[in-house]
Amino acid sequence: MKKGMTVIELLVGIATAAILVSVCAKVLQLGIVTYGFARRQNESLTRTRKAVAGDGSRAGILETSREGYQFASLPVSSVTVLASPTSAAANYYLKNGNLYRTVSGAGSVLADQVNSLSFDYYMSSNGLVSSTTVASSATMVTATVTIGSGTTVEQKVYTLFTGAQLRNHP
């Protein structure tokens, strides 16, 4: 009789353990998924920031505006070229969520998970700021980037920009 009790006791014990472990596993899993998601998004942002605003060793897309490049919006999965007046044109485009840079036909991926990238140009005249469509007259260029694939909820919007000191403007 006492042996029968032991089996039930064991079963109850195992059942309790199973419930506890499954709950804990869920919580742990959620933590790991969240961490991985945040890390991936942060990596994408860092790489996009380097590509757009430069990283010290190589000029970013925004800095090339100094050389009179023409900018265009980069909507999702379209191929929009930023044409340079010089022969060594570096072209940037978005395709399948990747930001590419090509020089003389050779391309490389600069950042992934880039959902959209668009540029705005501003100029200042006698202290007053207005928008301009001419990249060569811009004293400030901002880029708005949407990072993250998947649903809108999972996407993050960031703003990147150049300083106000372009082309020796005061």
């Binding site: 109850v12 309790t16 933590g31 202290g127 700021v129 928008s131 901002t142």
Partner: protein, 168 residues
């Protein structure tokens, strides 16, 4: 042999203790998730502060500065000048017009709201400073204007960036 009678109680107590321990650990995970969200807000706050500081940098040092920038002896009062609208930064032509500026959500340089950043508030304060970067109380003036841009996220503290502008 009568010890077998205690097994269920023993197991129950053991799991109760285990549960207490595990429940105590739950806030750690919740904290980790919150921390990662806060970090992201702080990062965005920094970007937004930098952006507004650059916007302010596009302005003249003072209303009285001529169109070809030059040193001026008598600056005008801090704050907006005649003909400027307190709610429209596109009418601002000098950096001290931004004194007391607040925008929520942040707006682009053309004063158009950016709904993507609705969780943030940007504020600006401008004051004169002495050469030791200590802010002076009005009406004292100097050749240095101290501009502080603060961006606050809903869940985080303000990220404040300060820049010094000289009379030029």
């Amino acid at each position: 042999m009568n010890r077998k009678g205690f097994l269920l109680v023993e197991v129950s107590v053991a799991y109760l203790l285990l549960t207490v321990g595990l429940v105590a650990l739950l806030p750690v995970f919740i904290m980790a998730i919150k921390a990662s969200k806060n970090t992201e807000q702080l990062q965005v706050s920094t970007y937004l502060s930098q952006e507004l500081l650059e916007e302010i940098r596009l302005r003249k040092w003072d209303q009285a500065v001529p169109s070809t920038p030059a040193y001026i002896v008598t600056p005008t009062a801090l704050g907006i000048d005649a003909g400027e609208t307190a709610t429209n930064k596109q009418t601002f032509n000098d950096i001290d017009d931004f004194n007391g500026w607040s925008e929520s959500p942040p707006r682009n340089p053309l004063n158009i709201s950016l709904p993507a950043f609705s969780a943030y508030t940007r504020t600006v304060s401008v004051s004169y400073a002495n050469s030791s970067l200590v802010a002076l109380s009005t009406p004292t003036t100097s050749d240095y204007k101290l501009v502080t841009v603060c961006t606050k996220g809903t869940k985080t503290n303000s990220i404040c960036l300060t820049s010094l502008f000289t009379n030029r």
